[in-house]
Symmetry: C2
Subunit: 319 residues, 2 copies
């Protein structure tokens, strides 16, 4: 029996790691993994396709609050947030590493639950947990590095051209809504981000540009436009927002357009690609939300074409 409140400082990193790795068992023994976790570094067999690699930190008090999900759920969430960047390139995940910052009085059970949640979610989507790092620190944080392989071409943020249609997968606003409700003292579960890997791979041959919506739709459209050297006009009323946001009217739609943490795919498609897009098997709904235009400005308009002003396009960690 595990004592219910054993802390990491009671057993130390090395003993905790040995127990964890024994429990994870076959996670490291997936296809393509020559040497899994537990050595200085992991070894992955060569692949004929290009590798895609991304890193992403999730920190308690910054990216999430403790209690908004179980520790296992937070581990699953950390994987999903990171894998979203692979989806946005059109890649399929193969391997993951997890660097943990852990306060000394952190419970062993919570820590193990986090890693098991991360590893299980990775395995489900084809990525073996092949390595990581554990160190002490003032607040819990996890930096995930994911490696994937490209099936075809990579889709960057920089390929959008005037006339391209702008689309987004799924629905926006679920995370922003939950955070707003929580902050107002009401109960709301932080949603697990969607996994858009199937859509990412299917969109790779069709999309002219693609990224995942993490900072807020408006800001991420701005990132895409800046990289492509173009502008965009988005229609507020076309945004696919969750019912709770829709019921709030314009303020709910603006919350969904700027709240961030949606992890849906934002992508552009040239007119000539629209028939192929209609035939693509994406595994999720998509919605056309606007059009790429010449220039540099990103404008949000209402149903009558009038400019909608909003105070803030999305999230920046520091401003």
């Amino acid at each position: 029996m595990t004592p219910p409140r054993r802390r990491i400082a009671d057993i130390g990193e090395h003993r905790w790691l040995r127990g964890l790795l024994a429990g994870l068992g076959s996670v490291g023994r997936m296809a393509g993994v020559s040497i899994g976790p537990g050595d200085d570094a992991a070894v992955l067999a060569p692949e004929r396709r290009p590798w895609v690699v991304t890193t992403d930190a999730q920190r308690a008090g910054v990216h999430f609050r403790v209690g908004w999900l179980s520790w296992g759920g937070l581990g699953r969430r950390a994987f999903r947030v990171a894998v979203s960047d692979l989806a946005a390139m059109g890649a399929a995940p193969r391997a993951a590493l997890l660097a943990l910052e852990v306060p000394r009085r952190f419970e062993v059970r919570s820590l193990s639950a986090f890693v098991r949640g991360f590893a299980a979610e990775g395995r489900r989507h084809g990525a073996a947990l092949v390595g990581g790092d554990v160190s002490a620190g003032p607040c819990f944080g996890a930096t995930a590095t994911l490696l994937g392989v490209l099936r075809g071409r990579a889709v960057t943020r920089g390929g959008a051209r005037p006339g391209d249609a702008v689309f987004v997968t799924g629905r926006l606003g679920a995370a922003a809504w939950a955070v707003r409700e929580r902050r107002a003292g009401r109960r709301a579960r932080l949603p697990l981000p969607p996994v858009r890997l199937e859509a990412g791979v299917a969109l790779a041959p069709v999309a002219s540009a693609m990224l995942d919506v993490s900072d807020g739709l408006l800001q991420d459209v701005t990132h895409l436009c800046r990289a492509s050297g173009v502008g965009a006009v988005l229609e507020l009323d076309r945004l696919p927002v969750i019912p709770a946001c829709r019921r709030l009217g314009r303020s709910g739609r603006l919350l969904a357009a700027t709240g961030g943490e949606d992890y849906e795919l934002l992508f552009t498609v040239p007119r000539a690609g629209l028939p192929r897009l209609a035939r693509a098997r994406l595994g999720c709904a998509i919605t056309r939300i606007g059009t790429i235009v010449p220039g540099r400005r990103v404008e949000l308009v209402d149903a009558e074409g009038r400019l909608v002003r909003c105070r803030r396009a999305g999230f920046d960690h520091f401003t």
Copy 2:
């Protein structure tokens, strides 16, 4: 002119990143990098050789103190610490990612100096900075992920057999000494870790087991023995320690044996491999410090063969 004390909160992550990436210029345009930093993920061209991947966190107040090196020096140090794990597998670095945790009032100049130091050191050793992450947090920290390729076979910790000779590269104790001096209020520069990539690649065909000395020699020997299912006898007087530790006598040698942060390579060689070891071009000195024995115990003995006791084998973040 840059204002001398501009904070990251004054300009935000996105503006800082755009300026930094423009300044880094060709870093991402190294051989094998198809898409460098600035998109959702980086893309690396396929390699015929296996990939080796490792992740390592360095945090202010945990792994180093602010002021022990310049910020550029701390960036260089972060790369060297991480690349040591690639050296210990016998791999050559190709690409790096850097996830930064940055307090809101952190100076832009220090942050940029850290990243430039990391990137310059990477470039010098063949690794392009291909991606990263920036987020707010209570204290400065950097999690580096390095990708390398194997030239030949990978050397794990698990291949040592009774009768193998135990060696270590370079000298031990420089970091432990500097930390001790600093804590006593005396001036001492934190040394930059050595880079043992040449030795790692040259040792790969000869060594039966290898790891880098990060937690302290005695503890790292214990890790190697545990992974190999063997024991070891080490001779305290044979340890290659820095002159300052040697002058202190036994207590100085014990400090060097347990202090950690040496980033030298610890490796074992079967008797049959010793002639080949003598011919290997390592780019650094090596010293035989002991022998692998049957059993599980790691013993430190003096010149007369008497057991030397020490309170602590090395570093654990939590105990």
